[in-house]
C-alpha cells in the first residue's frame, strides 16, 4: 500500500496540514522536511530493490476493467533516479525557504506538489501519467502567483496556460495511442500496432517540448523562472523541466523507437537551435536571473540532442546531464534570487564587487558557473563531454558544433561573474547588507559538494543509467 499512499496522502493531507498548523506556522516546515526525508529514503530503498532489468512492481490500484484502465505503479532505474533527484531538491528547498512568509500555506503547497510529481515518475499508465503531469501545475500556479516577484501573477498565469495548452496536444496523442493499441500501459503498448505513429509522435513531442522547453516553445520559462521565488525556480528547473526530458525518453525513445529514429534529426535541430538561441539570449541579458534561466534552457537543448542519439551512451549522458543540470542551475538561481533580495536590483551592471561583501555566495556562484560552462572536475564537464562524444558517434563529426554551446556558456558565465561578482562595488552594493541564513548556507554547500563529488566520481550515476538503459539496447 505504501506506493499509492505516497502519491495520494500528500494531495489530500496537505489541506489538513494547512488548516491544522494555521496557529503555529513554524511547525509546517518541519512536517514538510520530515515528509520529504521519508520520500527520499523510500526512493533510496527502491533503488536497492531494483531488479537487474526492467521494473520494480509497486502494485496496481483503482482498476476500471471496462476501460482497461488502472493506476499501475512501477519504477525502473530511470524513474528512481528522477525520484531521488526530486526528493533531494525538495529537502534542500525546505532549507532555502526556511524564512519564507505565510509558511502554513507555502509548505502545504510544497507537500501537495510532492504527490503528483512522484506520481508522474512512478506510474506507467499513460492516462494517469497525464493526470499527475497536469496536477503539478496547480501548486506551482499558487507558489509562483503568491510568493513571486513584481510581475508574479502574469508569470504564473502564463506558465499555467502555456504548459496546459501544449499538454492538450499530448493528451490527444495519448488518446490515439490507446485507440490504436487498446492499452493504457506503456509496457503493453507495441509500436507495430500503431496506424499513425508519426501523428502521435508529433502530438506527444509538442507537450514535452513545451515543458523542456525547446526553442520556439520556450517563452513561458523566462517569465516563470524570473518571477518565481528562487526556491520555486529550483523546483521548476530541477524537476518540472526534467518531466519533459523524462517524458521524451519514456514516450518517444522507449515507446516508439522506430518513429523516433525517423524524426531524430528534427530533435537534434530543435536541440541545437535551443542551445544556441538561448545561449545568445543569455549573453545579451543584463537581468541576472533571466541570464540563469536562459542558461538553463540552453543546457536542456543539450539533453535533447543526447536523447536524440537513441544510443546507450547518449541516453546515459542525457540522464547524467539532467541530474547535473538540476544541481548546477539550482545554486545559480538561489544566489541570483538572494542577490536581488539583498540589493533590490536584478541587473548585473548595477552590481559589482559582491565578492568582497559576500564571499561565500560568490564562491559558490563561481563554482556553479564554472560547472555550467563545463570546467573539468565538475558535473558540467562530464555531462557535456559524454554528450558530445555520443552525438559525434551517432551523427558524425558535424555535430561537434554543439561544443560551441560550451563557448557561448563560457561567454555569459564569465562575463556575468566579471560584472556582478568582481570589479568595483557599485553604489547599490555598498548600501546593501549581505547576510545569509545558516539554512541557506547549508543548502548551497550541499549543492556545491554534489557538483564536485559527482564531477570527480561520476560512476554512481552511470551505474543507475546502466540499469535504466541496458534493457533498451541489450546492456553494456
Amino acid at each position: 500500500m505504501v506506493a499509492i499512499d505516497i502519491i495520494f496522502a500528500p494531495i489530500f493531507l496537505s489541506i489538513l496540514v494547512y488548516f491544522l498548523t494555521k496557529g503555529a506556522e513554524h511547525i509546517t516546515k518541519y512536517i514538510a522536511l520530515g515528509w520529504f526525508l521519508v520520500l527520499f529514503f523510500i526512493s533510496l530503498s527502491w533503488l536497492h530493490q531494483l531488479p537487474a532489468h526492467g521494473f520494480l512492481q509497486l502494485g496496481t490500484y483503482l482498476q476500471v476493467p471496462a476501460f482497461n484502465f488502472d493506476l499501475t505503479l512501477q519504477v525502473d532505474a530511470l524513474s528512481v533516479a528522477m525520484l531521488l533527484l526530486t526528493s533531494l531538491l525538495l529537502i534542500l528547498v525546505v532549507f532555502t525557504s526556511w524564512n519564507e512568509k505565510n509558511q502554513a500555506s507555502y509548505f502545504s503547497l510544497l507537500i501537495l506538489f510532492s504527490g503528483p510529481i512522484f506520481g508522474v515518475f512512478m506510474t506507467t499508465n499513460v492516462l494517469w501519467f497525464f493526470m499527475f503531469w497536469e496536477l503539478t501545475l496547480v501548486p506551482m500556479l499558487f507558489l509562483i502567483g503568491m510568493w513571486g516577484a513584481e510581475r508574479r501573477i502574469y508569470a504564473a498565469i502564463k506558465f499555467f496556460l502555456y504548459t496546459h495548452v501544449f499538454a492538450m496536444f499530448m493528451f490527444v496523442g495519448f488518446f490515439l495511442l490507446y485507440k490504436q493499441t487498446g492499452y493504457w500501459d506503456i509496457t503493453q503498448i507495441k509500436e507495430a500496432a500503431l496506424t499513425t505513429p508519426a501523428l502521435i509522435w508529433w502530438l506527444m513531442f509538442a507537450g514535452f517540448a513545451a515543458k523542456l522547453p525547446l526553442f520556439p516553445f520556450h517563452t513561458w520559462l523566462p517569465d516563470a523562472h524570473v518571477q518565481a521565488p528562487s526556491s520555486i525556480s529550483v523546483l521548476l528547473a530541477g524537476v518540472l523541466l526534467k518531466m519533459g526530458a523524462y517524458g521524451l525518453i519514456r514516450f518517444t525513445v522507449e515507446l516508439l523507437p522506430a518513429t523516433t529514429r525517423e524524426f531524430a534529426l528534427w530533435m537534434v535541430v530543435f536541440g541545437l537551435l535551443t542551445t544556441f538561441f538561448a545561449g545568445m539570449l543569455a549573453i545579451y541579458e543584463k537581468h541576472i536571473k533571466k541570464m540563469v534561466a536562459y542558461s538553463s534552457i540552453s543546457h536542456m537543448g543539450l539533453v535533447v540532442v543526447a536523447i536524440a542519439t537513441m544510443t546507450y551512451d547518449g541516453l546515459s549522458a542525457s540522464l547524467y546531464e539532467m541530474i547535473g543540470h538540476a544541481l548546477i542551475i539550482s545554486p545559480l538561481f538561489l544566489i541570483a534570487g538572494w542577490l536581488h533580495h539583498k540589493t533590490h536590483t536584478w541587473y548585473m551592471n548595477e552590481m559589482g564587487g559582491i565578492m568582497k561583501y559576500a564571499p561565500y555566495a560568490s564562491a559558490i556562484f563561481i563554482l556553479a558557473g564554472m560547472a555550467a560552462l563545463g570546467l573539468p572536475g565538475t558535473m558540467g564537464f562530464v555531462g557535456e563531454l559524454t554528450i558530445i562524444i555520443s552525438a559525434v558517434k551517432s551523427f558524425g563529426w558535424w555535430i561537434a558544433v554543439i561544443a560551441l554551446g560550451g563557448f557561448i556558456s563560457a561567454g555569459y558565465i564569465i562575463w556575468s561573474v566579471r560584472r556582478a561578482i568582481h570589479g568595483e562595488p557599485s553604489e547599490i552594493v555598498l548600501n546593501s547588507t549581505f547576510e545569509m541564513s545558516a539554512a541557506e548556507k547549508f543548502a548551497l554547500a550541499v549543492f556545491a559538494f554534489l557538483i564536485v563529488y559527482f564531477g570527480i566520481v561520476p560512476q554512481p550515476i552511470f551505474d543507475v543509467a546502466n540499469k535504466a538503459f541496458s534493457s533498451f539496447f541489450g546492456g553494456m
Partner: protein, 445 residues
C-alpha cells in the same frame, strides 16, 4: 415508491417552511435519502408503472441527482424556501425522465421539467430576476412548441414509442428529429439557441440558477441521449455532422464570450454553455461503445461541480454582496472555506485531474477519438485549455489580489455540509471511475 415519497413531501412541505425553514430542510433531506434508498432497492417508478426501467447507469445518475438536490436544499435560506418544494417535485419528475424508455413519456416529462423550471425562476426579488425569469419562460415556451411540432411529425411515422421498437426509418423521421433537437438544444443551451441562458442563469436567483444550469441540464443530457440513441445510430452521417458542428460552435463561442465578462455569474453562465458544447461530443460519437459512458460520466461530474459553484456564488452574493470580479478580490483571506470549495470546483470545471471534471472529459472525449473524430476532440481540448483562462482569472482574483474590505465571510453549517457533499462527489468520481464506466458501457434501452 421514491416518486411518491418525493411528490408527497413536496406537497406537505409548504406547511412547515412558513414557520421553520430548518425543519423543512431536514424533512426534504430525509425525503431525498428515503428516495435514494428506494432507488437502491429498485423500487422507483419501474416497480409500479410500465415504460420505466432501472439500469445501473440510471441508478448512479439518480444517486448523483438526489445527493445534489439534498446538498442544495441544505444551503438554502430565507426567501429561497419555496425552492425546497420545487426541488422535491423536480427530483421526482427527473427520476421519471431518467428511467423512462418511452419516447412519448420522455416528451411529457421533459415538458413537466420545463414547467417546474419556470416556477423555479419565478422567485422574483428585483428587476433583474424578473428579466431572467421572463427570458427563461419565453425561450422555454418557444422550445416546447418546436419540440411538439417535431414530435407530431414523428408520431405519423412510428407505431410504437418504445425506445426499442420505434420506427426510425420513416419518411419524415430525419426532419422530425432535427426539429425536436432544435427544441431540445434550447434547453441544453446550444449556440445559437443559447442567448436566453446567458441572461437567465446570471440574473435569476443563484440557487435557482444552480438547479437550472447544473441539475436540470445534466438530467436532460442523459435522458436526451437515451431517447435519441436509436436515431443517432440510424443516421450516422447526419449525427456526426450535426453534433460536431454544434459542439464546436457552442464551446468556441461560449468560451470567447466568457473571457470578456466582468460579472461572475455571467462567466459561470457562459462556462455552463461551453460545457454543453463539450457534452455534445459523445452525441457525435454515438457509434462508439464509450458514448453513453461518456455522457453519463459527464452528467454526473457536471451536476456536482456546476451546482456547487453557483451555490457558493449565492453565499458570496448574500454575505458579501459579490457581483463582479472585483468584488471577490482577496476572498481567499476573507472566506477561506468558501474560496477553497470554489477553487476546487472551478479547477474541476477547467478539467484539472483528480477531480471529476477531468475524468468525465477524458471519457467523453475518448468516445470522440474512438469514433474517429480526433480533430474535433483536438479542438475541444484546446477549447477547454482556453477555458482555463477565465477559471484561473477568477482564482487569481480570489487569492492573488488584495481586497479593500477585510470583513470575514462566515459559512453556515448547512452550506458547509452541502458543499462537502458536492466536493465528495467531485473528488470521488475524479479518482474512482470503475462503477460509472462499467455501468455506462453495458447499456440497453
Amino acid at each position: 415508491m421514491s416518486f411518491i415519497v418525493l411528490i408527497a413531501t413536496g406537497l406537505l412541505i409548504p406547511l412547515f417552511y412558513r414557520n421553520n425553514i430548518f425543519i423543512a430542510k431536514m424533512i426534504a433531506v430525509v425525503a431525498f435519502i428515503v428516495a435514494a434508498y428506494f432507488v437502491y432497492q429498485g423500487q422507483s417508478l419501474n416497480s409500479v408503472f410500465p415504460y420505466f426501467v432501472m439500469t445501473k447507469a440510471t441508478m448512479i445518475m439518480e444517486f448523483a441527482l438526489l445527493a445534489t438536490l439534498a446538498a442544495v436544499s441544505l444551503t438554502l435560506t430565507g426567501f429561497e424556501r419555496p425552492l425546497i418544494a420545487q426541488m422535491l417535485f423536480l427530483g421526482a419528475v427527473s427520476l421519471g425522465l431518467l428511467e423512462t424508455n418511452n419516447f412519448f413519456l420522455f416528451i411529457v416529462l421533459f415538458e413537466v421539467v420545463a414547467i417546474i423550471s419556470y416556477i423555479l425562476v419565478a422567485n422574483i426579488r428585483n428587476f433583474n430576476n424578473s428579466e431572467g425569469a421572463i427570458k427563461a419562460f419565453i425561450a422555454g415556451a418557444v422550445a416546447s412548441g418546436i419540440i411538439l411540432l417535431g414530435f407530431a411529425l414523428f408520431s405519423f411515422t412510428s407505431e410504437s414509442f418504445n425506445y426499442s421498437d420505434m420506427n426510425v426509418s420513416g419518411k419524415f423521421t430525419l426532419i422530425a428529429v432535427a426539429i425536436m433537437l432544435a427544441g431540445i438544444f434550447y434547453k441544453l443551451t446550444i449556440v445559437p439557441m443559447h442567448a436566453w441562458a446567458a441572461d437567465a442563469y446570471s440574473q435569476v436567483n443563484h440557487a435557482a440558477a444552480a438547479i437550472l444550469s447544473g441539475v436540470i441540464k445534466s438530467v436532460v443530457l442523459v435522458a436526451t441521449f437515451k431517447a435519441f440513441y436509436k436515431f443517432m445510430i440510424a443516421y450516422p452521417v447526419a449525427t456526426v455532422l450535426i453534433f460536431s458542428f454544434f459542439a464546436i460552435v457552442t464551446m468556441t463561442l461560449a468560451n470567447f464570450m466568457a473571457l470578456w465578462q466582468k460579472r461572475i455569474s455571467k462567466i459561470l453562465a457562459y462556462s455552463s454553455i461551453a460545457h454543453s458544447g463539450y457534452a455534445l461530443i459523445p452525441f457525435a460519437a454515438a457509434a462508439s461503445i464509450y458514448s453513453f459512458a461518456g455522457i453519463l460520466y459527464y452528467a454526473v461530474a457536471y451536476i456536482f461541480m456546476q451546482t456547487s459553484v453557483f451555490l457558493i456564488l449565492n453565499d458570496f452574493r448574500r454575505e458579501a454582496g459579490v457581483k463582479f470580479l472585483q468584488d471577490i478580490k482577496g476572498m481567499g483571506k476573507r472566506a477561506p472555506l468558501h474560496s477553497l470549495f470554489f477553487t476546487v470546483q472551478l479547477f474541476s470545471l477547467a478539467g484539472i485531474p483528480l477531480l471529476a471534471g477531468f475524468l468525465s472529459k477524458a471519457v467523453a472525449f475518448y468516445a470522440g477519438v474512438d469514433a474517429g473524430l480526433w480533430p474535433i476532440v483536438l479542438i475541444a481540448v484546446l477549447n477547454s485549455a482556453l477555458a482555463v483562462g477565465y477559471y484561473v482569472w477568477i482564482i487569481k482574483h480570489i487569492y492573488f489580489d488584495k481586497s479593500e474590505n477585510e470583513a470575514a465571510v462566515k459559512m453556515s453549517a448547512g452550506s458547509l455540509i452541502g458543499q462537502l457533499i458536492l466536493l465528495a462527489g467531485t473528488v470521488y468520481f475524479g479518482i474512482v471511475a470503475g462503477n460509472i464506466i462499467g455501468a455506462g458501457m453495458h447499456f440497453s434501452f
